[in-house]
């Protein structure tokens, strides 16, 4: 017999009886059987079948007490403002000219009327508002010194305030002209805004192997400070570094100054914004501009040499000089109006007007890697002795380009950059004047530091504050250095905290004075008074 459906589900056309039906056909019928289930043995599904019966821990009650979130306020931003940030807005904004025109036509008359009324009005004459408590007196806030330097009889040769106005740095050295190139000296900084300021302990002391003659803080980076040494070198220190703070130095190369560097300054770089280059001035007659190389060296970028033969006519310097005599430059100040024009003071007693745009090469004997140019354009009438300090007025206007010069004849000359004769000649004292500075806030105020040289027996030093508004003949205030009379060699106004004036003297102390309000608040018409003063005198 044949077995039908051997493989199951085999279909045939008809199910006809084919021979005797096999009794096992029912075994291969289609049927669905429910799948077999096996209960999961995993714990989680088992626990899903569980029910909480009771709990052993007591119920914990909670309430909200406080939240840790606090309100915040913007205090300051760390990013620097870059000058390129502001785009040219005129291209971005869509302006509807017709509506703009109709607006302007509507308001023009009203505005012109108000402008006219304002011009003629005397309503506010003599009206002044006191926003700040008036400070009546001049106080000595701090007397800072470094005892170790004082023990070595070192003098304060130069001062500088940093970019934020809270740190004052001073350089210790000696200004008496003897060879101090190997005598150790210091640069000390004090942070006046710190609590727990100890006037006898500077926050930072940098040991320098040679006498430091001048220091200058970087105008925007608060930790960089540059110093000029007796040996003619320049060094830049970074006060934020804990180990060796020296960042750059010129070293002793063929380009370095051969005489002490008397003034060092940071110049804004014309080519790269927000970048500054170092400028140094020395009695070897050279004014050098340095750029920073990557290996920590300062390389000469450009330079000027002041040579007696190239100083314009009518000066005594030529008569005394044979050959190419360098003119010893003691100080320098840039004009705030024209960044290419600067004034230098020389040992011969002449303030000289110079320009960085000068092209003529200097007749300088010693070779240097960059050719030096002769910058002098005009020689002003001289002082009776070497000029130790010049200062250009920071309040500039188109015509007004005033600067001050002071020298060992005890006189301060007020010059305009346009003429050789001084506008005003003030005999401040019989003593040598070592430093003169314009006030950064009041156009009519300047300060001068005086003190006798070593020859005379009396050595009192004063800081004189002059105010042209009060008197053009004598100082408004002479601050005697209390306790010990020593010549004051340097002084600097604090441009950020404008009531502070620091003065350093030969005893190695730096005194920080707080000026009274009348020296720090600008009156409403001061600029005009200054212009008037200048024009009165020229007439």
């Amino acid at each position: 017999c044949r077995l039908a459906g051997f493989h199951g589900n085999e279909r045939r056309g008809r199910w006809g009886p084919v021979g005797p039906r096999p009794p096992l056909a029912a075994m291969f019928a289609d049927r669905t059987v429910p799948g077999a289930e096996v209960a999961s043995l995993w714990r989680s599904s088992r626990s899903a079948l569980c029910q909480p019966k009771s709990c052993q821990t007591g119920k914990i009650s909670t309430t909200e007490a406080a939240v840790q979130l606090h309100t915040s306020q913007d205090a300051s931003v760390q990013t620097d403002q870059s000058k390129d940030a502001v785009q040219d807005f005129q291209q971005e904004v869509q302006v509807d000219y017709t509506s703009l025109l109709s607006f302007l036509q509507r308001v023009e008359d009203a505005v012109i009327k108000e402008l006219n009324k304002n011009w003629k009005s005397h309503a506010f004459d003599g009206f002044e508002v006191n926003w700040v408590d008036q400070n009546e007196t001049v106080l000595c806030l701090h007397t800072l010194s470094y005892p170790e330097a004082q023990g070595q009889n070192l003098q304060v040769t130069s001062l500088s305030w940093n970019a934020t106005g809270s740190v004052v740095a001073c350089s210790y050295g000696r200004l008496d002209g003897e060879d101090r190139s190997t005598e150790k000296s210091y640069i000390c900084t004090w942070n006046l805004d710190r609590r727990g300021l100890n006037p006898q302990r500077p926050d930072l002391v940098v040991d320098v192997p040679s006498s430091v003659m001048c220091v200058a803080f970087h105008p925007s980076q608060p930790a960089l400070i540059a110093g000029g040494l007796f040996s003619g070198e320049l060094v830049v220190w970074d006060t934020s570094r804990t180990e060796d703070p020296v960042v750059w130095r010129t070293g002793m190369t063929g380009d370095t100054h051969t005489d002490p560097v008397y003034q060092v300054d940071w110049l804004p770089d014309a080519k790269r914004r927000n970048h500054h280059r170092l400028l140094s001035v020395s009695t070897d007659g050279k004014i050098l501009v340095w750029r920073e190389e990557r290996d920590g060296r300062l390389a000469l970028a450009e330079g000027f040499a002041v040579v007696a033969q190239q100083v314009p006519h009518r000066t005594q310097l030529k008569k005394l000089a044979w050959g190419e005599v360098a003119v010893g430059v003691t100080s320098l100040s840039f004009s705030h109006f024209d960044p290419r024009v600067f004034v230098v003071g020389v040992e011969g007693g002449y303030p000289l007007k110079c320009s960085t745009a000068a092209e003529t090469p200097a007749l300088h004997r010693t070779g240097s890697s960059v050719s030096l140019r002769a910058p002098v354009e005009l020689a002003f009438s001289p002082h009776g002795g070497p000029v130790y300090s010049v200062s250009c007025s920071p309040f500039h206007r188109q015509v007004l380009n005033l600067f001050l010069s002071c020298g060992t004849d005890g006189q301060v000359h007020l010059h305009s950059l346009l003429q050789t004769q001084p506008l005003l000649s003030l005999q401040l004292s019989q003593k040598y004047l070592f430093c003169v500075r314009w006030s950064p806030v009041r156009p009519l105020v300047f300060a001068a530091a005086s003190g006798e040289g070593n020859e005379c027996s009396c050595l009192t030093g004063d800081v004189h504050l002059f105010d042209f508004e009060r008197s053009s003949q004598k100082p408004a205030l002479s601050i005697k250095q209390a306790g010990g009379d020593h010549p004051v060699y340097c002084l600097e106004f604090n441009t950020k905290q404008t009531q502070l004036l620091a003065a350093g003297d030969a005893a190695g102390t730096v005194r920080v004075w707080q000026l009274s309000s009348d020296f720090t608040e600008q009156g409403p018409r001061e600029m005009n008074q200054l212009e008037q003063l200048a024009s009165e005198i020229t007439d």
């Binding site: 807005f89 005129q90 703009l100 505005v111 402008l115 600008q522 009156g523």
Partner: protein, 95 residues
């Protein structure tokens, strides 16, 4: 062109230091100063003008701001407000 003429006339007036036009959002449209100073003036004075206007209207809802003058030690700032624009003129009134 007429816009420039009008602004030139105002700028040429005695003692005027700066002139600028600012739109309703505080964005400067015309100015005689440099970019960064203008943006500073525009932002600050726009806010001040809005505050001044709301002050006037809060005190008396029928009133509205017509002119704003700020006198300082060094100069006077005059602001002529409008729905869409603000004209700011800075004058030094010293003779």
């Amino acid at each position: 062109a007429e816009v420039e003429e009008t602004l030139k006339r105002i700028q040429a007036h005695k003692g005027v230091i700066a002139t600028m036009v600012v739109n309703a959002e505080g964005i400067p449209i015309r100015t005689t100063l440099d970019n960064s100073t203008t943006v500073q003036y525009a932002g600050l004075l726009h806010q001040l003008t809005m505050k001044a206007r709301s002050t006037v209207r809060d005190i008396d809802p029928q009133n509205d701001l017509t002119f704003l003058r700020i006198r300082s030690k060094k100069h006077e700032i005059m602001i002529a407000p409008d729905k869409e624009y603000l004209l700011i003129v800075v004058q030094n009134p010293c003779e």
